[in-house]
């Protein structure tokens, strides 16, 4: 009994320390300016002033659309190309297959900061800066997706693939009509993790996008908050942070089960 009480107490402390700042952020963004400093959870009255100001100052809706558009395309790309590559690595016989796989794993160990500049130069040479292409194309494929699909596809029985081949499927048919419907957990895991990574990315958009109408949500919010345009109005800053977090929270509410699964099945933190 004492043990149990102690356990719940520890869990409670953990939950509060994680949740409090978050809840405070939401309530503070709804509070009148002068109440923000007091760290209370319930403002004396709820006001949307901060949000009104935010919308007037920066093109939030446009940025929200940009983020959804970019993250959506990136996720779709990773699912399609990642599963294709993963399938080839898991199921097709060709010379250099293992070498290729090791190289792909190796790319995971290279910090993004190292490839940042070369990648930027490529974007400039392709005249892709300040276009959606710069945001989408480099993200269409990633090593993590490939590896996860490869592992998952390896566990699909060979007979199933052979049966599909005899039924008249080509390799694409096998991937999209047989492997995909039988790999929903892998698709969801890769989908969620890719979408979140893409959604939260700030550094890359900051480098390749200067046109405000193409900016993604985190980029715009970051520039707004630290770039001085918020004019040290804490409430507006918090409102922008809430809008930034909102889509992920909504997605989490719908896909809670998969979020937890994907975090545990990938061996990564969600």
């Amino acid at each position: 009994m004492i043990k149990k009480t102690l356990l719940y107490f520890v869990l409670l402390i953990g939950a509060v320390s994680f949740l409090y700042p978050f809840i405070w952020m939401i309530s503070a963004s709804l509070a009148p300016d002068k109440e923000i400093g007091s760290l209370v959870l319930l403002p004396s009255h709820i006001t949307f002033d901060n949000y009104h100001q935010l919308i007037q100052k920066i093109p939030v809706w446009r940025a929200l659309f940009n983020s959804l558009f970019v993250s959506g395309l990136v996720t779709l790309g990773v699912l399609i190309f990642g599963s294709m590559t993963g399938y080839a690595l898991a199921r097709l016989e060709f010379r250099g297959r293992n070498l290729l796989f090791y190289i792909i794993i190796f790319t995971m160990t290279i910090p993004f900061q190292i490839t940042l500049i070369p990648q930027y130069i490529i974007m400039v040479k392709l005249h892709w800066t300040d276009t959606y292409l710069a945001l989408v194309v480099p993200g269409l494929m990633n090593a993590f997706g490939i590896i996860l699909f490869r592992q998952y596809f390896k566990s699909v029985p060979q007979d199933l693939i052979d049966a599909a081949r005899l039924d008249g499927c080509g390799e694409f048919g096998i991937i999209f009509r047989v492997m995909w419907p039988n790999s929903v957990p892998a698709l969801v895991t890769v989908g969620i993790l890719t979408f979140m990574a893409s959604w939260n990315d700030v550094l890359w958009p900051l480098i390749v996008i200067r046109d405000q109408s193409l900016m993604t949500m985190p980029q715009l919010v970051t520039l707004f908050v630290v770039g001085g345009r918020a004019e040290s109005q804490l409430g507006v800053k918090l409102a922008s942070a809430v809008l930034l977090a909102l889509p992920i929270i909504i997605a989490y509410m719908f896909f809670q089960k998969y979020f937890i699964n994907s975090a545990s099945s990938s061996g990564l933190k969600g």
């Binding site: 052979d162 005899l166 039924d167 499927c169």
Partner: protein, 364 residues
């Protein structure tokens, strides 16, 4: 409908060792041929080469009058049933059967007709809307067969289709597959490691060992006249007993001595003089050991053995015993109350004995 011809077919995975070594085989139109052999003998590899799932390293495979070496699996007009059914888990039974037809762009009406017809034949009508995981093993296998027959293939390939079923169901499915073959008359190649399936199902049996055909003949012929010790031991259940013996040819008589105590006259066999003094394997089918009744008079030499084990099967019993340091099994009618440890007298049906060369293991 089509005949299948394999000409000097070989397969190697690493360029060094051959999994299939120079196999030539002619399967007639409408024939049911069973490829049988121990696991790893190359029979499944051979089947997969016919299906187009494995590349053919050397040689030619001909279906009908078309060399199909470079024809992709989907264009070979064959259908295959797999050991673990390989049904698409995400599709209903109807769609499992219809998938291949949809990919071939048949009209919806035509697909519906064919699937319903196959479902009728196989008794799957009520299951068409279910998913595979709601089916029992036997039902799944029936769907797998159904998926094969809706395609109207020229050749049916079966890869150990009954291995995952329990004994009773296996017998039932065996009969069903045979009936289906009699009805559809489609050339069939059936792979199994189970000699009972081979004996009961095949018009012809191909016994394969170490990537080579050992014997290609009718089941009865293979049972009665196995060409070598491997075939003799592999086909038949319980297996043939092998006893090491020494030949003695003198004055036109042929004797084989199994040990000091047992010497049999086998003068009805034809052997050249140079076999004198040679070691050979004597092969005896279980039913060719006879229990000597006390009143019975026989010209055959008696042998006395001690029963190591008695396996009663109901209508018959299997006796395990040692003869000249070899384990032997006899099949006898059970009217007796013999048990383990009893000493019994037996004799051999000498007309049915098999002799195999000691080194080459070929039949003499």
């Amino acid at each position: 409908m089509a005949a299948v011809k394999l000409l000097n077919v070989r397969k190697t995975y690493d360029g060094k060792e051959f999994a299939v070594k120079d196999i030539s085989l002619e399967i007639k139109d409408k024939e049911f041929v069973v490829l049988v052999g121990p696991s790893g003998c190359g029979k499944t590899t051979l089947l997969r080469m016919v299906a187009g799932l494995e590349e053919i390293t050397e040689g030619e495979i001909i279906i009908g009058d078309r060399v199909i070496n470079d024809v992709p699996p989907k264009s070979r007009n064959i259908a295959m049933v797999f050991q673990n059914y390989a049904l698409y888990p995400h599709m209903t039974i109807y769609n499992n059967m219809a998938f291949g037809l949809k990919l071939r762009k048949l009209s919806r009406k035509e697909i519906e007709n064919r699937v319903n017809e196959a479902a009728d034949i196989l008794g799957l009508k009520d299951l068409l809307n279910r998913k595979p995981k709601a089916l029992s093993g036997g039902q799944k296998q029936r769907v797998a067969v159904g998926r094969a027959i809706v395609r109207n293939p020229e050749v049916f390939l079966f890869d150990e289709p009954l291995s995952n079923l329990d004994a009773k169901l296996r017998m039932q499915m065996r009969a069903e597959i045979l009936k289906l073959h009699q009805k559809l008359k489609i050339t069939t190649i059936y792979v199994t490691h189970d000699q009972t399936e081979a004996m009961t199902m095949g018009d012809m049996i191909v016994v394969i060992n170490n990537g080579k055909i050992n014997q290609y003949d009718t089941p009865m012929e293979i049972y009665k006249n196995p060409v070598n010790k491997f075939v003799a031991g592999f086909i038949g259940s319980p297996p043939m007993s092998f006893i090491l013996g020494k030949l003695d040819l003198s004055n036109g008589n042929i004797f084989i001595s199994l040990d000091k105590a047992v010497k049999l006259s086998i003068s009805h066999l034809h052997l050249t003089d140079d076999f004198d003094g040679k070691q050979v394997w004597l092969g005896v089918r279980p039913e060719d050991f006879r229990l000597k009744q006390p009143s019975e008079k026989t010209l055959n030499e008696e042998i006395e053995v001690t029963l190591d084990l008695v396996e009663p099967m109901g209508n018959e019993s299997f006796f395990h015993f040692q003869l000249a340091q070899s384990n032997c099994i006899a099949r006898v009618q059970t009217s007796d109350r013999l048990k383990t440890g009893d000493k019994i007298k037996m004799y051999l049906m000498k007309d049915h004995l098999h002799l195999f060369d000691y080194t080459s293991e070929r039949k003499l």
